[in-house]
């Protein structure tokens, strides 16, 4: 049976295996969410983004760091867990990459011409809510998970 090591060597080994690193952030309670497939599809997209090498955009962008990937994965699970706890719908986001080694989550309501982008980096998270005639930046307050859920609900879910 494979055992988890400790110390710098184990940390390096973990960081070198992005799939293992990403799924390590899965909280135990996530197994109780009824829509387990959705976060795992999002995580699969995150892994694809995480596999991009340096200069993936042909303009010199750095690769997505393990820390950014881990933070993005953790945010996804936090969102699904909070949505389940509160009994609110959380449409499945699409994942994208942005320069600076950042990872984005996109929710879209095409009929309303509205979308929400949440972009995660190593040291910051930010977003932008967009409607047909308006584009507004968002920065997290005291509870980013609930704030994002509220944005998704108001902008994407609620017709």
């Amino acid at each position: 049976m494979q055992t988890a090591g400790v110390g710098p060597a184990a940390t390096h080994e973990l960081a070198s295996d992005r799939q293992r690193l990403l799924f390590r952030v899965t909280p135990a309670s996530a197994v109780t969410t009824p829509s387990n497939e959705a976060p795992h599809r999002v995580l699969a997209e995150l892994l694809k983004i995480g596999s991009l090498g340096a200069n993936w955009d042909s303009y010199g962008a750095p690769a997505v760091s393990p820390a950014t990937l881990r933070r993005s994965g953790y945010l996804v699970f936090q969102l699904y867990r909070a949505a389940h706890t509160l009994g609110v719908a959380l449409p499945e986001p699409r994942v994208f990459a942005a320069g600076g080694g950042m990872v984005g989550l996109l929710w879209k309501n095409a009929p309303r011409d509205a979308d929400l982008e949440i972009v995660v980096g190593e040291s910051k998270i930010e977003g932008v809510a967009s409607t047909r005639n308006d584009t507004r930046p968002w920065t997290p307050g005291s509870d980013e998970t609930l704030e994002i859920l509220a944005l998704v609900h108001n902008l994407i879910v609620r017709a």
Binding site: K48, I49, S51, L52, G53, W56, D57, S58, Y59, G60, A61, P62, R94, V95, F96, A97, A98, G99, G100, G101, M102, G104, L106, K108, D115, E117, V119, E126, G127, V128, S130, T135, R136, P137
Partner: protein, 117 residues
């Protein structure tokens, strides 16, 4: 062909990968850059689409006009040493999103399953 200011109807091209376009939506990631001097584009008045993509297989192209850049709250600055190279200068994620909303996907990038990363 001009080397002066970027005209309102001048078309600027930026390469994109599958990771910047989600379900046909151009994300702010297409324009967001960590470069301090701005986001690089090719002016279609000086370079063809094929030239802009030369050496970058699998990439797609988005286009935006000089007028749309300014309407997004950004600036279009021509490189004085290379008139075919135009930098889009802006500040903040909302401006990147405003650019993405006004941009047009003129060539879709190769999907990830077919693209070499």
């Amino acid at each position: 062909m001009t080397a002066g200011p970027v005209e309102d109807d001048e078309v600027l091209l930026r390469r994109v990968t599958w990771a910047q376009v989600a379900d046909g939506t151009i994300t702010s990631g297409a324009f967001w850059t960590s470069h301090d001097d701005g986001c690089s584009t090719c002016s279609e008045s000086h370079l063809s689409r094929a030239q802009c993509l030369e050496g970058f297989p699998g990439r797609g192209l988005v286009s935006i006009t000089g007028a749309a850049v300014r309407a997004s709250g950004a600036q279009a600055q021509r490189d004085p040493k290379d008139p075919g190279h135009v930098l889009i200068v802006f500040s903040g994620r909302a401006a990147a999103k405003a650019l993405a909303k006004r941009a047009v996907l003129v060539l879709a990038p190769t999907p990830p399953d077919e693209a070499a990363t």
